[in-house]
């Protein structure tokens, strides 16, 4: 109902005015959002005293900024030295820095922390001011839009990307000033740099070419995941980008432990062993700090859930002090990283289990993973007749196959191909054996697995 009224409003009002005042357009944004912020902040959120577990959960949130960034001091010093070196000369020389590392290793966070520290130094007057533009390659509508975003950030005007490219060329190659700004050096941070790769790599070329011009005063810091991104580019670009590199390696378990513990400083909710156990597990797989924090937060949630259910069920007024231990961390890891297909196979319907057993049997018999529906139907029919089951008919069997294919337990072609449909197990046959061999309703499956 509301949508119809609003669309009528849009048609009747003059199109350009409605567009300007619309909350999601660029100019209209400040008109609308103040309405949201004005609502009363509800009292109860602040009222009740947080338990230790709740404070621990809040501290482990990815969104909460830690007071300091542990384990990245060396890298932060290098970044600080690079930037200060680049902007401190009177004649600022343009430079490029390439930062790389797997996700979750603190790259963006380190750069932003360095920029915050430099901001305080600028406010204190010990270094000259600069302008800082932060761009994320994955948030741009297309790689060419980066010119528009940079120009808008520097000058405040919005123009098309071609015009922006032209104006930026004038600014960086020829030194013409944009608007009323004075000659400040410009630091450009580009996150997810590999998304700017186009077919002729022109966007990257321009961005990395400008710092080499004498009047540009442009410092570019690029962040990406792959170590060899410069090598994958055209030589003229890799020569500009690849000189200064900084690698953020995956965290080892001591570093992860330190990261989690520093966030939980002053909060007594976790046993030491639990944090160490989570850190060791994550370090062995990926070394991703986000994963470690999420596992610990989930373990705290599980503990909180059990505690609250216990309190509400037993009407016990005493709040049992319960620390998060290794059992909860293990439960969190199981829940978050165990593949769900074994459980789904165990609880699937009777005919689905027979279907899967027939696929494993075919695999053993022929040695080939891929089979056709016709052969499978014959195998199912043999299995059913030798074990006293009623054969469900080809149509029902096709439906069962397609349902398993929808869950991706089995990979199958479209059901319209009927007996010519090709099928393949999506998981190792050992998983299927493990799931089905102890089935109570179909004990004879074990013979074929």
């Amino acid at each position: 109902m509301d949508y119809d009224e609003e669309s009528i409003k849009n048609i009747l009002a003059k199109p350009s005015r409605a567009h300007e005042l619309a909350a999601n357009s660029q100019k209209g944004r400040f008109f609308g959002l103040q309405k949201i912020g004005v609502k009363k902040i509800p009292e109860h959120v602040r009222c009740h005293k947080q338990t230790d577990l709740e404070r621990a959960k809040a501290a482990l949130l990815l969104a909460s900024l830690p007071k300091s960034l542990p384990c990245r001091d060396k890298e932060m010093l290098e970044i600080t030295a690079f930037i200060k070196d680049a902007i401190s000369d009177d004649k600022c020389l343009g430079r490029c820095l390439y930062i790389h590392g797997v996700p979750g290793t603190g790259k963006t966070m380190s750069v932003l922390a360095v920029m915050r520290n430099l901001r305080t130094e600028v406010d204190a007057g010990s270094i000259r001011p600069y302008s800082f533009v932060e761009i994320n390659g994955l948030k741009l509508a297309s790689p060419e839009n980066i010119y528009r975003v940079i120009y808008e950030a520097l000058s405040g005007h919005r123009v098309s990307w071609k015009k922006a490219l032209h104006l930026l060329n004038e600014r960086f190659s020829e030194g013409k000033k944009i608007g009323k700004e004075d000659d400040k050096p410009c630091i450009l941070l580009i996150d997810e740099l590999d998304l700017l790769l186009t077919r002729n790599q022109s966007v990257l070329y321009n961005i990395l070419d400008w710092p080499t011009k004498p009047h540009s005063k442009l410092v570019v810091i690029g962040i990406a995941n792959t170590m060899d991104l410069p090598e994958k580019l055209l030589p003229r670009i890799s020569s500009r980008m690849g000189i200064e590199r900084l690698c953020f390696g995956p965290y080892n378990y001591q570093q992860l432990q330190e990261i989690v513990s520093s966030r939980l400083k002053g909060i007594n909710a976790f046993k030491e062993q639990a944090i160490e156990y989570a850190s060791r597990k994550v370090a062995a797989i990926s070394g991703d700090a986000r994963r470690a924090l999420e596992i610990c937060r989930r373990a705290a949630e599980i503990t909180d859930y059990r505690l609250k259910k216990l309190i509400s069920n037993s009407n016990n007024a005493s709040q049992g002090k319960s620390l998060v231990g290794m059992a909860e961390v293990e439960a969190a890891i199981q829940e978050m990283f165990q593949a769900p297909h074994i459980q789904v196979m165990k609880t699937s319907s009777r005919l689905s289990k027979i279907f899967l057993t027939a696929m494993v049997y075919e695999l053993y018999k022929t040695g080939m993973g891929e089979t056709t529906f016709e052969k499978l139907a014959m195998t199912v029919s043999c299995l059913c007749t030798s074990n006293g089951e009623a054969f469900p008919g080809h149509d029902m069997l096709l439906k069962i196959g397609c349902k398993l294919g929808e869950c991706r337990i089995v990979l199958c072609e479209s059901g319209a191909k009927h007996r010519l449909q090709k099928l393949q197990l999506n998981f190792p046959s050992d998983d299927v054996t493990f799931a089905l061999k102890d089935s109570k309703e179909l004990p004879w499956l074990a013979k074929y697995l």
């Binding site: 509301d2 609003e6 199109p15 409605a18 567009h19 005042l21 619309a22 909350a23 999601n24 357009s25 660029q26 209209g28 944004r29 609308g32 309405k35 949201i36 912020g37 509800p42 109860h44 959120v45 947080q50 809040a58 990815l62 969104a63 996700p103 979750g104 994955l138 948030k139 998304l195 995941n225 991703d288 986000r290 999420e294 989930r298 909180d304 978050m336 990283f337 593949a339 769900p340 459980q343 789904v344 609880t347 699937s348 319907s349 009777r350 016709e374 139907a377 014959m378 008919g393 080809h394 029902m396 069962i400 349902k403 929808e406 869950c407 319209a416 191909k417 009927h418 010519l420 999506n426």
Partner: protein, 419 residues
């Protein structure tokens, strides 16, 4: 006459219950270990503790993921009236990033009574979303994003997922992202950057156990004994129902049905049909209703198709089968005609038709998908030269011929003979 009215009312009540998945899943969600209570705890603690969370609901189709989610949301909307906005997206409609951001902006504008413009660009919409997340975070309102068919959002560059999860990580936002998918490997589809930001919480929805199904049947099919129905009618109905449920034959019917697919939605579909067969004269359910529903709902489309074929079409199918047995892997309409002629020459049947009639019969078979072209690229050539294959197996064809009303004996012999 007077008895028909409560029977119709009863029928209407049962049918409306069976069409509403929330009713069934409410009955299954009482224990502390159920997905309902876990999901409710997660979302409500995100609201009260002002934190962000992302969760995936996984399970086969019809296991109740959306139904349980709707139950949780309706409960939370009552408990925290002004603190929640819900944004619903579907992977089938909004998988393109442009479309998704526009839809999010539209729903946000509708929720907060702001003016929406359809002409805003991608950048405008994404900045609007981030600004709204920040504002709602400051005002302690939680935004719940429901992404239905989540696996379809993971195609392409995953810009929507990245922006959402990144905003949850860095802005003062209070958002819960709930993805719903029937693919069990939905989280493997995420790009490594998006996977790192996703919080890997999963809830698995599995079909109910047998005892739960018994309880569910009773709960759904029993009439309420309050004043909406004449008391003796309701009591008589419920007693008859208990007798049916305890009957061994009924248990066998239900287990035969659930052998195929044990999800709740499938069961509800069957019960709807069974209840629709209820005899309005007596106003009671009977075992025959359930038996009739079972035979009606489990159909064999291909066999019925073969039974509907004309004699000439059966001839063509048998010819194709003979060609396949002779290991001729690639054959077309002309080869089938040759085989047809050779049969007629050796056996002198009365069913010899002209070529253009056979072509019509051939096209009928193609339309009904009893036969099909081997590859779709051959559409440019005429029907007569494109290679075809049988889409029914020999077994099905054999069964179809056996149950055909007036199948000529010669066809049966041709089927059985190897040459």
């Amino acid at each position: 006459m007077a008895r028909e009215i409560p029977a119709e009312k009863a029928l209407g009540l049962l049918r409306s219950r069976l069409c509403d998945p929330n009713f069934a899943f409410k009955a299954l969600s009482h224990s502390d270990d159920s997905n309902y209570s876990k999901l409710k705890f997660l979302v409500s603690s995100s609201i009260t503790e002002a934190c962000n969370n992302s969760i995936l609901l996984l399970g086969p189709r019809g296991s109740g993921k959306i139904a349980v989610l709707e139950l949780v949301l309706s409960d939370l909307l009552q408990e925290y009236p002004d603190m929640i906005s819900v944004i619903r997206l579907s992977g089938l409609l909004h998988s393109s990033d442009n479309c998704a951001f526009k839809e999010i902006a539209r729903q946000l504008c509708m929720e907060h009574q702001l003016v929406f413009s359809r002409m805003a660009s991608f950048d405008d919409n994404s900045q609007f979303m981030i600004a709204m997340l920040r504002e709602c975070g400051l005002a302690h309102k939680t935004i719940i994003f429901i992404l239905d068919e989540f696996d379809l959002f993971a195609l392409g560059k995953q810009k929507l997922l990245y922006s959402l999860l990144d905003a949850m990580q860095s802005v003062t936002s209070q958002a819960v992202v709930i993805g719903v998918s029937c693919r069990l490997d939905a989280d493997m589809l995420l790009d490594k950057r998006v996977r790192s930001r996703f919080s890997h919480r999963k809830l698995l929805f599995l079909p109910p156990a047998n005892e739960d199904i018994q309880r569910l049947l009773e709960h759904i099919l029993s009439l309420p004994t309050d004043s909406s129905f004449p008391p003796d009618y309701a009591v008589a109905f419920n007693t008859k129902l208990q007798n049916i449920l305890a009957d061994e034959r009924f248990k066998e019917i239900i287990s035969t049905y659930l052998n195929f697919d044990s999800t709740v939605k499938h069961l509800l579909r069957y019960l709807f049909r069974a209840v629709s067969y209820m005899d309005l004269e007596s106003g009671m359910l009977s075992l025959e209703n359930f038996k009739a529903a079972l035979s009606n709902i489990q159909r064999h489309p291909k066999l019925e198709c073969i039974k509907d074929c004309s004699i000439l079409e059966l001839y063509i199918l048998v010819c194709m089968k003979r060609l396949e047995i002779k290991e001729q892997n690639s054959y077309n309409f002309n080869s089938v005609m040759k085989e047809y002629k050779s049969i007629h020459d050796s056996v002198k049947t009365s069913d010899y038709f002209a070529r253009n009639v056979c072509l019509r019969a051939f096209e009928h078979l193609l339309q009904r998908e009893l036969i099909g072209f081997t590859d779709n690229r051959g559409q440019n050539h005429s029907v007569e030269f494109t290679p075809v294959k049988l889409l029914v197996s020999f077994h099905e064809l054999h069964q179809g011929l056996k149950s055909y009303g007036s199948c000529p004996a010669i066809l049966q012999q041709l089927m059985d003979r190897q040459k």
